[in-house]
């Protein structure tokens, strides 16, 4: 008799301990983050941006200036809003991108006007680094010869060609939208896809034309012909640094001065080639840029194990904390939804609605509100909030369904025996709903492991990091280094929940699941 009460107490104690432990961890984590504010550099999800960020970081490291590189954060929008809201101090950008995308200006880039406009927003713009990484259209050399394609205007005579553009390029005024009207391009089939995947599709012939950056390492590696911009559409994309005015510390200013005009187009193509085609670490490429000699260190097994362990910790932290919060919120929400059907419809519509927001969009949407409440819009917070929101649906729905499927006759019996509402809730309804409730949590946990890989888009680390880098570098081994542990974690979590089910669900209910 008392054993069941003791078991509940033991369970409560375990849950309390877990809560206190996680709260303590969260506090120490945030305390650590507030020690000394380092200079935070961001980079886009592209090799060149990462290499440029590393080059500045290495220089600041040499000057003993604490620097942090939040790598591969995403596209212009994520980085710009992070810079403007003060979550980043600097990131490398291109003049044309700011001119058209952020300032919404037309015509050729006026660097002086650009500098003034940015200063008014509190952003310092460095002098150009030296190269112009403009957009270009590339065609495999063999195809270009066969169809005699050399200029962008030639495309009009070949409407059967399949065009594949990065999603960013496709929607930009200085990208496909403007290009199309400038050259009167009509009738081509256009597909939006990841820039890195486009090269693979070009190789297999599923795609004929794609957007390129003029410093892309692939132009040589993949033997592509760059179509001449014969009607001068693409604006200049001079690489330069954007730095928050108040973060322009003397060592930063002098580093930017040293970099001014130092990287020519051919030098950048070479740097990109080392990082992207030769799979060298961007930090090593950056060190060599500053004259260090790097001994070739083969990737040892110990390194790999440490790396995977670190990412597993990051990944598990994302999954664990978001799941814990979703349980603490979702279960009471599911109960309340059951108790009041009208409120329940609102709750279920809300949590289902959240599920339909594309994950990348959700991450971007979260930057601003998180910043308002004093949290970082990049790193763990947006990833945790997004995962928490996605976990709500299965947990709320299954709690609600678990309670709803309890036959009315049991409720009447409980009523007839004058059983108190508390006992009814804790000893009758919830234990009977537990199999469904646990199944909901299990679903959320397993889905979370997959969703959490997207955390890497906002710098939250985890298994998504090698997956994103692997896609970017066209490196299967690296993709697998993230994908396989992620799969294993999902399977292990599944096992954990099956074990919990065995321990927590009454044997009297088990015949159904067995």
């Amino acid at each position: 008799m008392n054993s069941s009460r003791a078991r509940i107490l033991r369970r409560l104690r375990l849950i309390t301990a877990m809560l206190i432990g996680s709260a303590a961890l969260a506090i120490t984590q945030s305390a650590k983050a507030q020690d000394t504010p380092p200079f935070r550099i961001g980079s886009k999800k592209m090799t060149e941006s990462i290499v440029l960020a590393e080059i500045l970081k290495v220089r600041l490291d040499h000057a003993d200036w604490p620097t942090e590189h939040k790598a591969e954060l995403g596209g212009t929008r994520i980085l710009w809003s992070a810079l403007i809201s003060g979550q980043l101090d600097a990131y490398p950008e291109y003049s044309g991108t700011i001119w058209t995308e952020i300032l919404k200006r037309q015509g050729p880039v006026q660097l002086d006007q650009l500098r003034v406009a940015l200063l008014e927003m509190g952003i310092h713009m460095s002098s150009p680094l030296g190269f112009n990484n403009t957009y270009a259209l590339g065609v495999p050399e063999a195809l270009a010869q066969k169809r005699s394609l050399s200029k962008i205007s030639d495309l009009n005579a070949h409407r059967d060609l399949l065009l594949g553009f990065s999603n960013e390029f496709r929607r930009r005024q200085d990208g496909w939208l403007g290009l199309q009207s400038h050259y009167q391009l009509k009738g081509h089939k256009v597909r939006g896809l990841d820039h890195d995947i486009a090269y693979r599709a070009l190789r297999t012939g599923e795609l004929h034309v794609t957007d390129l950056y003029s410093t892309d390492a692939e132009i040589r590696a993949e033997n592509l012909r760059v179509l001449v911009d014969d009607r001068d559409f693409f604006p200049r994309y001079d690489a330069l640094w954007l730095v928050r005015k108040e973060s322009l510390h003397p060592p930063v200013a002098s580093a930017l001065k040293e970099l001014e005009g130092q990287i020519s187009e051919s030098r950048m193509v070479a740097l990109n080639h080392q990082a992207r085609i030769q799979h060298r670490k961007p930090s090593d490429v950056a060190k060599e840029f500053w004259g260090e000699t790097i001994a070739a260190t083969p990737d040892s097994n110990a390194d790999r194990v440490a790396r995977v362990a670190q990412r597993s910790f990051e990944h598990l932290r994302l999954v664990g904390f978001s799941l814990l919060a979703a349980i603490l919120v979702g279960v009471p929400l599911g109960i309340s939804a059951f108790e009041s059907p009208r409120w329940g419809r609102v709750v279920l519509a809300f949590v289902s609605g959240v599920q339909t927001i594309p994950s990348l969009a959700l991450l971007v949407i979260l930057i601003e509100p998180l910043h308002r409440v004093g949290l970082s819009g990049i790193g763990d917070p947006p990833a945790l909030v997004a995962l928490f929101l996605y976990s709500l649906l299965p947990i709320v729905r299954n709690t609600h369904a678990g309670l709803k499927q309890i036959p009315q006759s049991y409720r009447e019996v409980a009523q007839a025996f004058d059983i108190s509402p508390t006992t009814r809730r804790w000893k009758l309804e919830l234990p009977m709903a537990l199999p469904s409730l646990l199944a909901g949590i299990k679903t959320a946990a397993v889905l979370n492991v997959g969703f959490a890989t997207l955390g890497a888009l906002v710098g939250a680390g985890g298994y998504g990091q090698p997956i994103l880098a692997g896609i970017r570098l066209d490196h299967y081994g690296m993709i697998l280094e993230g994908a396989i542990p992620s799969l294993i974690m999902a399977l292990l979590l599944q096992q954990v929940f099956e074990f919990l089910e065995l321990r927590l669900v009454s044997p009297g209910l088990r015949s159904r699941s067995a």
Partner: protein, 259 residues
Amino acid sequence: MKNSERTLLRLHGVRHAFTDATGQTRPVLENFSLQLQARERVALLGLSGSGKSTVLRIAMGLIQPTSGEVEVFGVRQSEIGNLSEPKFDRRRIGYVIQDGGLFPHLSARQNLTLIAQEDSWSLAETQSRIEELCQLTRLPLSLLDKYPRELSGGQRQRVGLMRALLRKPELLLLDEPMGALDPITRDDLQRELGEMFEKLAIALLLVTHDLREARRLTDRIVLLNEGRIEQEGQWSDLVDRPASEFVRRFVGAQREVHA
């Protein structure tokens, strides 16, 4: 149980109707009246859907009748009363539904201790009462730690009965307790229950469609047809002096089986 003439339950002119999915009002009980004295055993007999179970649920305060008077233990239940808190102590009534109504996630013993814990019984008190009830219902002690799904239909019904008797109620409401049992188990259980009720001297309101069961376990039969009382009286009254063609057919159909 002090006063054998005390009225435990009185329903007068009770009507109950519900609105179905198509929005139509469907009467379940019409002008239903019934009195149950202490120690009296009455069967509510009728076909399925005749409103028998509704009477029990009204008596238990689980549903509010559309109109009519309901008195439980001499207390008039208000017509617009709060259902979750009827004006009588539900602990004085034992309730058993078809297949026992045991909570599936609790063992037989836990189904019993749950009730004892609600009333803050001591461990020893609970233990001795459970042993007593096992003897009374002839349930082997070894079955107490089994879960409902591991018990046979008859065993489940015994545990359900133990649970209903745990608080020593004055009145027992049984809703087709043997509806799901095979004929042999049913026959055994009916015989045992007859002896048990005799011993306990408890008042009983039994819902059944089985004429033989009604005859074996109760003194008086109320035969319902489509929500109305068709005939009320002893078993012999129904057999010898059927009040209507329906009674004659109802009795005849069951007698052929048992002939």
